[in-house]
């Protein structure tokens, strides 16, 4: 039987671009939404015809700002998926939402359409920082959004937060996090800011107009995150993700476990049955791809060595680590067979450990994961 898949739908619309964002998303294109939704529905049907009526375990509406969609548009998308795929009755269906775009009515409509998990882009509860990074909402709106979500019946709410913003001190981070953890939510994503090339933020950093916290401050913020989240009942399960028991994001686990996923929409990436491909990031080309008139770009499916490494790169992000039996089954050998030196040295250095059939990073190894991964790459790539 085919493995269950995760479906990602990209909604590349924003009221405004944030200073740090390098995702494919456009401000001022709301007029296209209606047509776009139809195109995505068409694409879903075409892909179902190609890959079969697969069991869908999770759906993720990401962006962009998916909450610019009306309830009806969200329903149309989910109905299309349910029509051509086997969406599991207990499927996790997440929608990303900007606190500045929500109303109680909209939230109810999303829920009725089938969305059962809401990911709120809170980022910070400090108005100064929010403005500095170009968010369209205030801290008060974020608090209000979390409250509205609960009223609308969302029991599985994630709050996205960013650490390491320009001018943010460990104390400011602690205040945001402590308050966020007390809001009604079951999941916290705490991302350290990545300054992506070509963003307005990168230009500001390069010109010296704003200063980022240094490595030591970031490490301190990490410790604060661990401590506050744990006290509030959230357990870390991935580099940047914390959840109350039973609320880990199943869709994202699909990526970290390197299981198949189908991406729909502009610029969306897929990894289906060992093949990787992605959609165009301009409207017209994407529209042609969606109806089968133009082939998609192949991303490069990855050599055995690359796939092997990616299994570690993704799997070691999870606290649980990499499933060793599954690794052995998929690659015909244990991790230590392919990387004897790195496994030995990193274990000796206290970076890597094995437990209960999983190979995982220690707490220390998790802090310096890139260096550990580069050691794996150096040994066998």
């Amino acid at each position: 039987m085919d493995e269950a898949i995760g479906v990602y739908i990209h909604l590349p619309f924003c009221a405004r671009k944030c200073a740090y964002c390098d995702f494919t998303s456009f401000a001022g294109e709301e007029a296209r939404i209606e047509e776009y939704v139809k195109t995505v529905c068409r694409e879903a049907r075409a892909q179902a015809a190609l890959f079969g009526r697969r069991l869908v375990a999770t759906i993720y509406l990401g962006g962009g700002t998916p909450s610019l969609l009306t309830g009806a548009q969200a329903r149309a998308l989910l109905d299309a998926l349910r029509a051509c795929f086997d969406v599991a009755p207990d499927a996790e269906i997440t929608m990303e939402a900007n606190p500045g775009t929500l109303t109680p009515a909209k939230l109810c409509a999303y829920r009725e359409a089938g969305v059962n998990r809401l990911s709120l882009g809170v980022q910070s509860l400090d108005d100064g920082l929010l403005a500095a990074i170009g968010r369209i909402h205030t801290a008060a709106q974020a608090r209000e959004a979390a409250r509205m979500a609960r009223e609308a019946g969302f029991g599985n709410v994630n709050l996205d937060l960013m650490a390491g913003l320009p001018g943010q001190t460990p104390r400011l981070w602690e205040e945001t996090l402590a308050e966020a953890a007390s809001l009604p939510c079951a999941h916290l994503s705490c991302y350290a800011l990545i300054v992506e090339e070509g963003t307005p933020l990168a230009a500001r950093v390069a010109s010296g107009a704003c200063a980022l916290p240094d490595e030591d401050a970031l490490a301190e913020m990490d410790e604060i995150t661990e401590r506050i989240a744990r006290r509030a009942g959230f357990a870390r399960y991935e580099v940047s993700n914390y959840a109350r028991p039973g609320f880990a994001c199943r869709h994202n686990l699909t990526y970290w476990e390197c299981r198949p996923y189908l991406g729909l929409g502009l610029a969306a990436h897929s990894d289906m049955d060992g093949r990787r491909f992605y959609n165009a990031s301009d409207w017209a080309a994407y529209a042609r791809q969606a109806c089968g008139a133009q082939p998609r770009e192949a991303e490069g499916d990855g050599s055995a060595a690359e796939r092997r490494f990616e299994r570690l790169m993704m799997g070691l992000r999870m606290l649980r680590g990499v499933d060793e039996a599954r690794f052995h089954r998929d690659f015909g050998g244990a991790v230590a067979d392919f990387y004897p030196k790195t496994v030995r040295e990193m274990t000796a250095l206290g970076m890597l450990e094995r437990e209960g059939g999983y190979m995982r990073l220690t707490a220390r190894g998790m802090q310096v994961m890139n260096a550990v991964l580069v050691a794996f790459l150096q040994e066998n790539s």
Partner: protein, 601 residues
């Protein structure tokens, strides 16, 4: 007895402070006399090596012949001999000057007389050259030719009343300069029928013709077919071709007394054509060689290693090729525990070393690691034997050493008066022993006896920074003296890194050890664990720093669409590590091995 030919020959060079326009003037002279057509002119022909042009210095000397029809209606052969402009090549400069009768002294009309101007003038006077001042850059709004003229007279004591006012850049006054060369520089003298004596002032390796000598014939005649002898090395060769460069090789029937030109004699090895040697006729040799010959020995040594061990053979080939053209470069294989297989290379000085490093990187596309430069120490052992040590790792065990000697130089620092105090402090900090101080008009020349090892560290930078660029210096080796020296080792994570060891004066060991440890702390990136850096003498640790363990290195976000991109990011990080050397458990970037050079004590 002066022949008509000699009457119409002028041999001269151009001397100037850096940036005063020496190369530009040379270009204008060549252009004006038709040696180069204007449109064919590559800017500043004499500085043909890319590196030379970049640094605005001339490394090797060359000679070019120009035919100039003067206002008296006669045509003169003007031989321009270019001179290297750096203290590492002082000896080569002295040989080039010995080939001339006169020198054009270029002085910038906006800057006036500078320290280097003086140093050059004194060197030219030592060779009894007629010095003709030329005031350049008069097209600039800030030009003050009258003041500069007065300055030349006051400070240098040269008559500058008829010094041409020119702008080499825009080509103003060039005819005037050519006329002055004809009228002001004495014609050469020499008996063309006497036994041959020709001074080699430069040599060059040509892939087709072998080593070619640039010579000034002092007396006698040299022609193809003649069997010549190098008077100092004794080697003999048969002359294949003689001629002049103008600008290509132009063969002539012979070179006679007073002439400047080249001699090709199928010489396979450049080391047989030593600068300063005298060429004579093997069948009718001169009684004695021309004065001033000196065997040039490398003074500074460092290890050069391929960054990637697989490049060892390529590095060897490259050094071999460079040595073909550079008689003062030496290299011998050596091994380092830290760096593997490489070469111990010898240079005339630091600039020479840097030039070779850069040529290896640019012309041969090699990724190399260079260790800190060292001088040659003489180690007197308790058993009475003496060993020469040019690599700190080869220093015999302390218990077997009776005493050690290091090379000293006589250094002259030329400076405007206001920087005397600061520069004396620099010299004293460099273990210099004050000899005397000579006033040269507004300028002062400080003479110090100083260890060469101190000069090769940051002496140049310090002299320049403490005098706002106004001071300059030169030095010559004055011999070996006993010194209280110790070997300073560096331990990374508890293990000695041989490539970082150095020999230092005992009184300097503590500050240098501390500064080295600090510097290494800055260049060694944080790694998975804490790395102690220790500087030690014998078994005794004198300084300690710590590279803290890396605290955070993780990609915050990684989801479906990111996988390939993030993998490539890590692959890039992996590539970056190729520039690192694995020393035991520690990864050390190649810059670390040069860190010792950039220390502030």
């Amino acid at each position: 007895m002066e022949s008509e030919r000699m009457e119409r020959t002028r041999n001269f060079c151009i001397i100037a402070h850096i940036d005063h326009g020496k190369s530009t003037l040379a270009d204008r002279l060549l252009e004006k006399t038709g040696v180069y057509e204007k449109r064919e002119m590559v800017e500043q022909v004499l500085d043909s090596m890319e590196l030379e042009r970049e640094r605005g210095i001339t490394i090797k000397s060359k000679a070019v012949r120009m035919d100039y029809r003067a206002r008296d209606g006669k045509t003169y052969a003007l031989n321009l001999i270019d001179t290297p402009g750096h203290v590492d090549f002082t000896y080569e400069v002295s040989r080039a000057l010995a080939a001339c009768e006169g020198a054009l002294l270029v002085v910038d009309a906006t800057q006036g007389v500078e320290a280097q101007t003086l140093a050059n003038v004194y060197m030219a006077l030592e060779h009894d050259l007629e010095i003709l001042p030329v005031i350049n850059k008069i097209d600039l709004p800030s030009a003050r030719p009258d003041e500069v003229r007065a300055e030349i007279e006051e400070v240098i004591g040269l008559d500058a009343s008829d010094a041409p006012l020119i702008s080499a850049k825009v080509g103003l006054g060039i005819d005037e300069v050519l006329e002055r060369i004809v009228s002001g520089i004495p014609a050469p003298q020499g008996d063309e029928d006497a036994p041959l004596q020709a001074l080699i002032f430069d040599s060059y390796y040509d892939n087709y013709r072998g080593a070619i000598c640039f010579v000034r014939v002092a007396q006698g005649t040299v022609r193809p077919g003649m069997r010549i002898r190098m008077m100092n090395t004794g080697a003999c060769f048969d002359v294949v071709e003689v001629g002049v460069r103008s600008p290509g090789y132009v063969p002539t029937q012979e070179l006679r007394a007073g002439d400047v030109g080249y001699v090709a004699a199928s010489i396979k090895d450049l080391h047989d054509t030593r600068v300063g040697d005298t060429i004579t006729d093997d069948a009718n040799p001169a009684q004695e060689s021309l004065p001033g010959y000196r065997q040039v020995n490398p003074m500074v040594f460092c290890g050069i290693y391929p960054a990637d061990g697989a490049d060892y053979e390529n590095l060897k080939d490259a050094l071999e090729k460079l040595r073909l053209n550079d008689a003062s470069l030496t290299y011998d294989p050596e091994t380092s525990q830290a760096l593997g297989f490489g070469f111990r290379c010898g240079f005339l000085g630091l600039l020479h070393m840097e030039i070779i490093q850069q040529r290896l990187e640019r012309e041969f596309d090699l990724d190399i690691i260079t260790t800190a430069p060292s001088v040659v120490y003489r180690v007197h052992k308790t058993d009475g034997t003496v060993v020469q040590v040019d690599n700190p790792s080869n220093l015999p065990p302390a218990g077997t050493i009776d005493y050690m000697e290091e090379p000293f130089v006589a250094a002259s620092v030329h400076t405007p008066q206001e920087y005397v105090g600061a520069l004396m402090e620099v010299c004293q900090n460099k273990r210099g022993v004050f000899k005397d101080m000579v006033y040269e008009g507004q300028r002062v020349c400080l003479h110090y006896q100083m260890p060469l090892s101190e000069i090769i560290f940051d002496f140049f930078d310090q002299v320049k920074s403490r005098s706002r660029g106004y001071a300059s210096y030169d030095y010559e080796l004055s011999g070996y003296q006993q010194s209280d020296l110790v070997k300073l080792d560096v331990l990374l994570n508890g293990e000695i890194c041989d490539a970082l060891s150095m020999i230092v004066h005992k009184d300097r060991a503590y500050p240098r050890g501390r500064s080295l440890a600090e510097k290494l702390k800055d260049v060694i990136p944080r790694q998975l664990f804490e790395i102690p850096i220790q500087a030690a003498i014998g078994g005794k640790v004198i300084a300690r720093e710590t590279v803290k363990a890396m605290r955070k290195d993780v990609l915050a976000k990684c989801y479906g669409g990111d996988i390939t991109r993030k993998r490539k990011l890590l692959e890039k990080q992996k590539e970056g590590k190729k520039r690192m050397r694995q020393l035991g458990s520690v990864q050390v970037p190649s810059e670390a091995f040069m860190a010792v050079l950039k220390m502030d004590e």
